[in-house]
Amino acid sequence: MFKQIKDLAGGEFYLIASLLIFMVFFIMVGVYLIKMNKAHIAEMSNLPINEPQTADGYEEV
């Protein structure tokens, strides 16, 4: 399985550079996630549910 992404006759540079770019990006997102605050997450995930009541409240059908 790994043969097809090894032995690239000079093309390794692209592969390694691309994977490194992704690693850096992924770690950035990861660090951010770890630092996220709980109350904020709860607020965000409840956004679709805590919608403003429509005038006659039939949303609850």
Partner: protein
């Protein structure tokens, strides 16, 4: 501060909903017609406007851009307003968006059967329609961002990120894959040729799947699933992680459509590596969706909309598990060009897109009509017959794909191809194709039942065109900001424009790393001295090949396997395609590869074969093309075509356009004279002559120095 009163626009949601249903039925009917053509050539209906080659793109365009497209707009217009606590930015823009989109679809329905096509898969529409698409897409964007700007909710929920990423990426993809040089109002050539054109096309094609069939649907999933189950999404953190990883990784994966072709090896490997990585963010989304329903499975048992959602997510999980597997070279070597890919496509299309759309329709229509669904029983019937339809579609196609893929590769003990005649492998899978169309019919019956059910629901209730709501306005200046609010993501959640720019940068990286070297470093496309531009007659023949949609059944790229070089001849080299604007490699081998067809048969063979394929290949399912023999070749644009090619860098000698007509006629006379020798009386100015000229030229430039050519059958 005071509560503000405002209304939600439900009418536009309803309009997009009806368009979804109507185009869905039409698109699937065409799909069913196309499916029957693959086992019964008489279903081509004996005229040029309904042959498989022209109608297949009509199916794909209708289901993707009309059915799925309208469903996306329906979902976005409903959820965006509610998530932002604001009415859509402009009623006028909403209307223009709606009618503009329908007009674009109508123009596709007219032009595709007429053979007006650019040949790029999922981007077949010609340049004036491309421009219209761009304009309407911008209208959609302004309407969306306008709404975001006047919102009453500070934070943008994750669904909206998916919508923004969809908007930006589709805009970039569409524009880059539309670089065409117009020759007339309805004809153009792609600016890139051969390998480069292929790379751009599949960067587009794969990401049309990613950003039209996937990201907007994930956005809808993140809004509608919590609504339906009445509980928040399982993990908001996971949704952020999988959003950014998904859009970053997806854009690199295009080359998995070009494995073993003459695309540079390193680009193929990049495609493979990122496709395999793609399984993680895709499953992140699926798991997040399914776990949202944890503890609510009793609801799933009762609620048909949730059932549709569960199957949709499961199908998404299957398609995104299978996709990375299909990207492994060994597996792709068997699956590519076969029905296996068609099965993969429809698990995603029928399961994920179709079922999620149905779920949302069943949920949303009764709500905006302030009533209950007309019949829960009928909806339940739809669910079961639809699921059965998917199974009857997918299983036979997998079977057919494995069977044919392996038959193509099988050798006898003596080292000869076991099924040297391509047609044997076609006939073997006919029963599977019959079963598949039964599956399609079941799925369609379900959709028709839904149409009836929803129409009854609409008649029972009354549309709340403008639904009243109220919310606090947003403070303009935030005075005592929480320090946590300075974190970059919370800033992104509040600053939609910055968010859009960053997501654009993220999606540009992959495309640039793959394209720039392929376009600039010469060694990536080694030239071959003996490869020459097409003669004027061949060029006209090539345009007929495009017009008739031959590329929808025949590939023009021979992979470097013994089973292929034995069957078709020398494998295809990048340098052979440098004058191919556009490339015509194809993605499905319903018939044999044609790259080395040139010189393999006589002109008379081709004439008889096009007139009646079964006369030369008994049992063939290829449609017959009698009109090629009666219709005069249109040469009014030949000079313009030559000049256009020169502009694109094809080295015709100076002022060649002036003699192009004479050259064309001279070559046509030679072919007609040769046919005459074989007792075929046909005028030299007919379309068939040009098509034969092109077929006889194909792949011969590098054959010049070869003595024997292995059999093609």
């Amino acid at each position: 501060m005071q509560l503000e009163k405002f209304t939600y626009d439900n009418k536009i949601v309803r309009d997009f909903g009806i368009a979804t249903i109507v185009w869905g039925i039409i698109g699937m009917l065409v799909g069913l017609l196309v499916a029957t053509q693959l086992f019964s050539p008489s279903m081509n209906l004996g005229n040029q406007y309904t042959t498989f080659g022209r109608i297949r793109p009509l199916h794909t365009n209708a289901v993707i851009f009309a059915f799925v497209g309208n469903a996306i707009f329906m979902g976005v217009y409903y959820s965006l307003q509610r998530l932002l606590k604001a009415r859509m930015f402009s009623n006028a823009l909403s209307k223009i968006h709606f009618w503009g989109w329908q007009l674009i679809i109508v123009s596709a329905v007219i032009t595709l059967p007429l053979g007006i096509t650019s040949s790029h898969e999922y981007a077949e529409l010609e340049w004036p329609i491309d421009i219209a698409i761009t304009l309407i897409w911008v209208v959609f964007g302004i309407n969306m961002f306008g709404t975001i700007i006047k919102r009453r909710e500070r934070h943008l929920y994750v669904a909206i990120w998916f919508y923004i990423a969809t908007f930006v990426t589709i805009a970039v993809l569409h524009i880059v894959n539309s670089f065409q040089l117009p020759i007339s109002f309805l004809k153009s050539y792609y600016v890139f040729a051969g390998v480069q054109d292929a790379l751009v096309q599949w960067w587009y094609g794969h990401n049309a799947v990613a950003f039209f069939l996937t990201t907007p649907y994930l956005g809808m999933m993140y809004y509608f699933l919590p609504k339906m189950a009445n509980r928040p999404v399982y993990s908001y953190k996971l949704s952020i992680l999988h959003f950014w990883s998904l859009i970053f990784i997806y854009i690199w994966a295009g080359p998995h459509h070009l494995l073993y072709t003459s695309l540079p090896g390193w680009a193929q490997s990049l495609g493979v590596a990122f496709s395999i990585m793609l399984i993680a963010p895709s499953w992140g989304g699926m798991i997040n969706g399914l776990l949202t329903l944890r503890g609510a499975w009793d609801k799933v048992r009762e609620d048909v909309t949730l059932k549709f959602m569960v199957v949709a997510l499961t199908a998404y999980g299957m398609a995104t598990f299978e996709g990375p597997m299909l990207s492994l070279k060994q597996i792709n070597g068997v699956a590519h060009f076969t029905d296996w890919i068609v099965a993969h496509v429809h698990v995603g299309a029928l399961g994920w897109n179709g079922f999620l759309t149905f779920g949302v329709l069943y949920w949303l229509i009764p709500r905006i009509y302030k009533t209950e669904l007309f019949s829960k029983k009928l909806a339940s019937f739809h669910f079961w017959i639809g699921t059965l339809g998917i199974l009857f579609y997918a299983i036979p196609m997998y079977w057919a794909g494995f069977t044919q893929g392996l038959m193509w590769k099988e050798f006898t003990d003596e080292g000869l191809l076991k099924y040297a005649n391509f047609l044997t492998t076609t006939l073997q899978i006919i029963p599977m194709h019959i079963l598949r169309s039964i599956g399609g019919a079941l799925y369609l019956i379900g959709a028709i039942a839904m149409t009836y059910n929803l129409a009854k629901t609409m008649l029972k209730g009354k549309l709340v065109a403008n639904e009243a709501a109220e919310a606090m306005p947003l403070e303009k200046e935030i005075t005592n900001e929480d320090p946590a609010d300075k974190k970059w993501h919370r800033i992104l959640e509040r600053k939609p424009m910055k968010f859009m720019v960053i997501s654009m940068i993220v999606i540009l990286i992959g495309g640039m790393v793959e394209m720039m070297p392929t376009f600039t470093i010469e060694s990536n496309v080694p030239t071959i001295a003996s490869v020459k531009p097409y003669s004027p007659l061949e060029l006209e023949g090539r345009d007929l090949y495009i017009k008739e949609g031959c590329v929808n059944c025949h590939s023009q790229t021979i992979r470097p396997f013994r089973s292929e070089t034995e069957r078709y001849g020398e494998y295809s080299k990048a340098g052979e395609f440098v004058y191919d604007h556009p490339f015509l490699w194809g993605s499905k081998r319903t018939g044999p590869d044609l790259h080395r067809i040139g010189g393999k048969y006589s002109n008379a063979w081709h004439y008889n074969h096009m007139l009646d394929p079964t006369s030369m290949s008994p049992g063939s399912i290829m449609p017959s093309y009698p009109w090629l023999i009666t219709q005069k070749l249109d040469i009014s644009m030949t000079e313009a075509k030559i000049r256009a090619m020169q502009t694109l860098g094809v080295p015709y000698r100076e002022n060649f356009d002036a003699v192009a007509q004479a050259k064309l006629k001279e070559q046509a006379e030679t072919i007609a004279a040769d046919l005459k020798q074989n007792n075929i009386d046909v005028k030299s100015d007919r379309e068939i002559i040009a098509l034969i000229a092109y077929l006889q030229r194909m792949g011969t430039d590098i054959k010049a120095n070869k003595t024997t050519i292995p059999s093609n059958q």
